[in-house]
């Protein structure tokens, strides 16, 4: 399988896992959306050097991976393109800030190193939490949830169309590269001089198709609203989830659990 069809396949399996019939998937999308949002705020708002607190917050994605039996390894593998990007952000911090920050097993960690590690951890955790949301909630559900919290319709529709457009575009890329490869056997990759014209035709075709998909939606009564009839009011289960996870995340945010455990163990 080529890399591109691999990527398409992965997107489709994410969508498929989102429509699995499983308790987390059945939860009200708004509840999952709010919990995820709250988690992101909690992670991002941790202090620059507050590595223990951020690591404590890692409990949430791991618990959720456990509960949903989505394979963590597979998730890391799928996110292999994004994760290095979020890790690269703080990479120069250790060079810039050499003041001593903390002691660990006799080594002195500089503040720069600490802030780099904290940033990386924050990046990875936010990506994982977003992945968990997308992998357990169909995209229409997400859109409906966003509308319920009054995110402007324009933005939500845009989000939906980009989501759909991405898979169309990758589809066109796959078709085009396959057609190219069949007529250029034995060649590795695509010769540079064709990049322009191939790229152009892929863009045009996928935009055409996206236009038609949008027309098909409009013909079936799509007006930019996401009917919430499918998601009747949140039930007991949803409220329990919201309260439970909300409180758990808040607890992890307020108390650096790792430090507490550490001090208990040290005593």
């Amino acid at each position: 399988m080529s890399r591109i069809s691999g990527a398409i396949h992965e997107m489709q399996t994410i969508e498929e896992s989102a429509s699995r019939d499983q308790w987390v998937n059945r939860l009200h999308p708004l509840v999952k959306f709010l919990v995820t949002l709250f988690y992101l705020v909690c992670v991002v708002s941790c202090g620059r050097y507050d590595l223990p607190r951020v690591l404590g917050l890692a409990l949430y994605p791991f618990v959720l991976f456990e509960l949903t039996d989505l394979p963590l390894g597979q998730a890391l593998c799928r996110l292999r393109l994004v994760l290095p990007l979020v890790c690269i952000v703080g990479i120069f911090n250790p060079l810039l800030d050499r003041r001593p920050g903390a002691e660990l097993l006799g080594f002195t960690l500089t503040l720069g190193l600490l802030s780099m590690l904290t940033l990386m951890a924050k990046g990875i955790l936010t990506v994982l939490a977003s992945y968990l949301l997308v992998a357990t909630t169909p995209v229409e559900g997400l859109c409906a949830a966003m509308r319920m919290v009054h995110i402007p319709r324009m933005i939500v529709v845009e989000f939906l169309l980009i989501w759909r457009y991405l898979s169309l575009f990758m589809n066109e890329v796959q078709k085009t590269t396959e057609a190219y490869r069949l007529r250029a056997p034995g060649q590795k990759g695509i010769a540079m001089k064709y990049w322009g014209s191939l790229m152009g035709s892929m863009l045009l075709r996928s935009i055409d198709r996206a236009g038609e998909v949008y027309e098909a939606m409009c013909l079936r009564g799509f007006t930019g609203d996401f009917p919430s009839g499918r998601f009747p009011g949140a039930g007991r289960r949803d409220l329990v989830y919201l309260a439970g996870f909300g409180a758990g995340i808040l607890f992890l945010r307020l108390f650096p659990v790792l430090v507490l455990i550490g001090s208990i163990v040290a005593r």
């Binding site: 429509s19 229409e140 098909a216 013909l219 079936r220 009564g221 009839g229 009747p232």
Partner: protein
């Protein structure tokens, strides 16, 4: 006389400044008609269908669907009456699984979820795809996708069915399937095709589009045996009429 469902009067259309694709064409379609629109590639068949559902604007003349003039303000109402099946099923289906796609239209009309469910099951039954609801759309075969795309329209219970090149890319079994499904839809339907055998099997009236105008409007029997006219518009006799 059954009542008129679609009335097209002096309809002209061109994309941008170019030549006119359709030039002052007129016709009416009645409740039980099964109309096949034929013509060479590029004759304007798809364009005509898109005009009927209001996907293209800037036309001259008038189009009325069940007495409602097709214009920006009435699109919502017109589209509740007309179902349009795209030529490329891939562009019509955009949900993850079959059920959600077939339910998309009814949900947008704000129907209660039990009614949506009833309609989805009925539509899937009509295209003989019971039990396909949980299947991921991208795992379907081309023929199955076509049938699902028809179900997505049937679930909206349209009075009129438009289909662009429905038989393209179907294997013989799915083609027979489709012919039967079309036969069971006893409202007005309009299809385009250059597959004249398919038209022969499904239509009771034929319109020939040629150079922007309607060259023929009448029963299939006469035109589909008229080798000379067909050749002139770039089509060939249906196979089923040539082999004896």
């Amino acid at each position: 006389m059954s009542h008129i469902h679609i009335e097209v009067k002096d309809l002209s259309f061109s994309y941008g400044q170019d030549r006119k694709i359709l030039d002052r064409i007129s016709f009416t379609a009645r409740e039980k008609d099964a109309i096949g629109i034929i013509g060479a590639n590029g004759a304007g068949k798809s364009t005509l269908l898109k005009l009927l559902v209001g996907l293209l604007d800037g036309f001259e003349g008038s189009i009325r669907v069940e007495e409602i003039p097709v214009e920006k303000r009435t699109l919502q109402r017109v589209r509740e009456k007309i179902g349009y099946v795209f030529q490329d099923a891939d562009n019509q289906l955009f949900s993850v699984n079959v059920y959600d796609d077939v339910a998309f239209g009814p949900r947008n009309y704000g129907l209660p979820e039990e009614e949506v469910d009833r309609r989805v099951r009925k539509a899937l039954a009509r295209v003989h795809l019971e039990g396909f609801d949980e299947k991921p759309v991208h795992r379907l075969s081309g023929g199955e996708k076509k049938l699902v795309s028809i179900a997505t329209i049937l679930s909206m219970t349209p009075d009129i069915l438009l289909m662009d090149e429905p038989s393209a890319a179907l294997d013989p079994r799915n083609r027979r399937n489709l012919i039967r499904i079309l036969g069971e839809f006893d409202h007005l339907k309009i299809l385009t095709s250059h597959d004249l055998d398919f038209i022969w099997d499904t239509c009771s009236r034929v319109l020939v589009l040629h150079q922007g105008g309607i060259l023929y409007d009448g029963d299939p029997d006469t035109i589909l045996r008229d080798e000379k006219t067909l050749a002139m518009v770039g089509l060939e006799l249906p196979l089923s009429l040539t082999v004896r």
